[in-house]
């Protein structure tokens, strides 16, 4: 009853479509405390991911691995590389599986989170995309069962709201120090918007 490769491809397609609207919004958010390229970068990443033909692929691990490579080929920017890292880590976990069990999502995300932390040397609480992922993991763990979509979306929204008034401590935004208080981290904003699109 889990997610097949075709479900995954569908979610990628919805995220890709959403980027049409999101690109400028994310660029604007990054322009305030970074270099203004988060939206353009994610657009390029999702263009490449959506262009993959996964129709003949059965193995979810192999699908995620191909998506990881597509993301990595599209950009050298921080968030893009972290996304590729997350996908690659999950792909290893799922190797040989035709379906992803939704109840394993917290464990998969925890693995991805650890890999991203190892890759980017950020800590939880630094106000990065990691804090969105961590919030989702926590919410999933205290979640009884049933549809995970609303849980993921709710946690992503709450994380964005809770971190808005804190200081960015990692990436380019770190240099802006207290000037980041009151602003959405572009990576966290992107996470929320894209999970909303994928869950639709």
């Amino acid at each position: 009853m889990g997610w097949t490769v075709s479900d995954i491809a569908g979610a990628v397609g919805r995220a890709h479509t959403e980027m049409g609207r999101l690109e400028q919004e994310l660029n604007a958010a990054d322009a305030k405390l970074g270099d203004g390229d988060t939206g353009g970068m994610l657009k390029r990443v999702l263009d490449r991911m959506a262009a993959l033909d996964l129709s003949g692929v059965e193995d979810a691990g192999s699908a995620l691995s191909q998506l990881a490579r597509a993301a990595a080929a599209a950009t050298g920017s921080s968030l893009g590389t972290l996304l590729a890292t997350a996908l690659l880590t999950m792909s290893r976990e799922l190797k040989g599986q035709a379906e992803v069990d939704p109840s394993s999502l917290d464990g998969l995300l925890a693995g991805a989170r650890d890999a991203m932390m190892a890759r980017g040397k950020a800590e939880l609480g630094d106000k990065t995309v990691l804090d969105s992922i961590e919030a989702v993991i926590v919410a999933l763990r205290s979640h009884g069962g049933g549809d995970v979509g609303p849980v993921v979306i709710g946690a992503a929204r709450d994380a964005l709201d809770q971190y808005r008034d804190r200081t960015n401590k990692r990436g380019r935004a770190r240099m802006f120090g207290d000037a980041t208080v009151g602003m959405d981290d572009p990576g966290m904003l992107a996470f929320k918007e894209l999970v909303e699109a994928m869950a639709r």
Partner: protein
């Protein structure tokens, strides 16, 4: 800010096209053609030396691919790290079976991509080592040297490691030399006016009419202070003072100096700076050898300059003197 370019989207690819069109000893490689490598066959058994980073810093990095320096370079968009794929392709291009040294500046995005590429390389049986340039004393305190950014001084590590690799040394030895050169090199920059990323509608930062910023990074990262322009000798005295205060414990009394234009600052001004730097260093009992003066690591048309000191010993000194032949740096 006016630029002689076509579209922002083509800026880097056309620049690379021009580079390999001008210098047939270089060629483009990799799926995205974002790797510059020596055109000649790899010498089997030679350790590869790879660098990379964002565009906009020429001659860094691609202008130093060639005999006695780098084997290959992965290049990103302007001020944006190269992709993992390009990093992987650069490693493959430099793999002569004896391992590959990844030698690049300490920036978050670049590190993630090279780290990931080196994991892929391990899967493919290519041994890699990583040495990060972290010469910018303005970017973190001496107790946090590992957080410092890499700027112009990395060319000393290129030159030393490149010469060592050309000599046929092992990956361990080439790595040791790169680490030695990095640990002996310190840089500080001063910015006078900004540059502009192609396609952007405004300069990367703003400075007042008569204002300078001490310690600014090569992408406009914030520095130590912003204040009125002052005479060259005063500026240089402060820069040399800060570099000497931060000198490595094992520094002797021999130093090579690099006076680097960030872009628009002309050679005349670099020579005026060098003059003072040399006399200050002599006053502190240093012997200045093998000065490098010119455009080595730029931020396009940014005005300003950086001074790097490399505290050399016999070993480093002879590696710096070894022959090298690249489009923008020839020795011997």
């Amino acid at each position: 800010m006016k630029k002689i370019m076509n579209t922002a989207a083509d800026f880097v690819d056309e620049m690379l096209d021009g580079l390999v069109g001008a210098y047939p000893e270089l060629t483009l490689a990799g799926e995205d053609k974002r790797v510059v490598r020596r055109a000649a066959e790899l010498r089997s058994g030679k350790v590869g030396v790879v660098s990379g980073g964002g565009s906009g810093h020429l001659p860094l990095f691609t202008g130093y691919v060639g005999q006695g320096l780098l084997d290959s370079c992965s290049i990103g968009n302007v001020f944006e790290g190269p992709t993992v794929g390009s990093c992987s392709d650069a490693i493959a291009a430099a793999n002569g079976g004896a391992g590959v040294l990844l030698l690049y500046g300490n920036y978050g995005g670049d590190r993630m991509n090279f780290d990931m590429a080196s994991e892929f390389a391990a899967d493919d049986g290519i041994e890699t080592r990583t040495v990060l340039g972290n010469d910018d004393v303005a970017s973190a305190g001496p107790d946090e040297r590992e957080k410092r950014r890499g700027v112009a001084g990395i060319v000393y590590a290129y030159k030393a490691a490149g010469a060592k690799a050309e000599d046929g040394a092992s990956l361990d030895e080439v790595t040791r030399i790169a680490e030695l050169a990095v640990s002996r090199t310190r840089t500080i920059g001063v910015a006078l006016s900004p540059c502009q990323v192609p396609g952007s509608d405004r300069p990367s930062f703003t400075l007042g009419e008569n204002e300078i910023e001490m310690g600014m990074g090569i992408h406009g990262e914030p520095g130590i202070w912003r204040d009125q322009l002052r005479p060259a000798d005063e500026i240089v005295d402060e820069m040399i003072g800060r570099l000497l205060d931060d000198a490595p414990k094992d520094a002797g009394k021999r130093v090579s100096i690099l006076v680097n234009s960030l872009g628009a600052t002309p050679l005349e001004e670099l020579l005026i700076m060098f003059r003072r730097a040399k006399s200050r260093l002599a006053g502190e009992g240093f012997e200045v050898e093998r000065p490098l003066i010119g455009h080595f690591a730029t931020s396009m048309e940014m005005a300003g300059a950086s001074i790097s000191l490399c505290f050399v010993d016999d070993e480093l000194s002879s590696l710096l003197a070894a022959p090298a032949q690249t489009p923008f740096w020839t020795v011997g």
